[in-house]
């Protein structure tokens, strides 16, 4: 089952996949350019029935890395889409218009890491108090 999922993604996005890392049969990491993320997310969600479990943002010092973790429940496989964005001006298109459940996930990355999600319907603070200083991102490695 996991092989079929991976095969289908490879098939659909053969030109856009940057790298595939098969950690195990049920944990696969696929690298994409940030600009391709909405298209891949849409395909995984709408065409393949994948569920966005959550997304992890990481300050790797060199850049900001975002992992979108998709669960394919019928086979227990998690496909994590990995993308890197520029740390000085971290921006990526929001996937909330595609998946409502992404709203809070992106808001959290926005306030804790400073990522701007373009076209997010409601990019306000979620966890930090209103008087938390601007441009101070707790999960950054400054």
């Amino acid at each position: 089952m996991a092989e079929e999922i991976l095969a289908r993604i490879k098939d659909e996005f053969s030109k856009k996949i940057l790298k595939v890392f098969e950690k195990s049969s049920r944990r696969i990491y696929i690298d994409f350019d940030a600009k391709d993320i909405p298209e891949v997310v849409s395909f995984l969600f709408r065409e393949m029935g994948g569920r966005l479990a959550t997304a992890t943002g990481i300050d790797t010092r060199k850049n900001i890395e975002i992992l979108y973790h998709f669960s394919f429940d019928s086979s227990g496989t998690i496909i994590s889409l990995r993308t890197l964005i520029d740390k000085k001006n971290p921006e990526i298109e929001s996937v909330t218009p595609i998946i409502k459940g992404a709203e809070w996930i992106e808001r959290e990355m926005h306030e804790l890491l400073g990522v701007n999600f373009r076209n997010h319907p409601n990019l306000k603070r979620l966890l930090l108090p209103e008087d938390w200083p601007e441009r101070k991102y707790p999960l950054r490695r400054e």
């Binding site: 930090l128 108090p129 938390w132 707790p138």
Partner: protein
């Protein structure tokens, strides 16, 4: 004695043990201790949690509204000293840095028996004067 329960960024274990103290097995009410819904009726604040910034704002406002004298009991290790959350970026606590605290009941969480013992000890100490 009317107690008001205030949870400030807690994992809720202490809060559940406090509510547990009300159930028939432990029955706080036999000591004359009643949980009230409004701070204006409270003699005692049972405070739990490690206090985030947002919670600290609320705590100060609440303490001002409480009729004095009002005793604060810190329930749980987080309320007593913040414990593992001491260095976190979002914490404003512990309680004794923000309001006077009259009794500490440590534990993670403290058992209902410990909570009852703590409150009863406080009552006895007050009665002595």
């Amino acid at each position: 004695m009317w107690v008001f329960h205030f949870a400030a960024a807690s994992c809720n274990n202490c809060d559940i043990e406090i509510l547990d103290a009300l159930t028939p097995k432990f029955d706080l009410e036999r000591f004359g201790i009643l949980l009230v819904g409004s701070i204006r009726h409270a003699d005692v604040i049972l405070a739990t949690g490690a206090i985030s910034h947002k919670a600290a704002v609320r705590l100060k406002r609440l303490y001002e509204q409480a009729p004095k004298p009002c005793l604060v009991v810190a329930v749980g290790s987080c309320a007593c000293s913040m414990c593992i959350f001491r260095d976190s970026y979002n914490m404003a606590g512990p309680f004794d840095g923000l309001v006077p605290v009259h009794a500490y009941i440590p534990g993670c969480p403290p058992k209902p028996e410990a909570i009852i013992m703590g409150v009863v000890k406080l009552v006895k100490a007050l009665r002595k004067g």
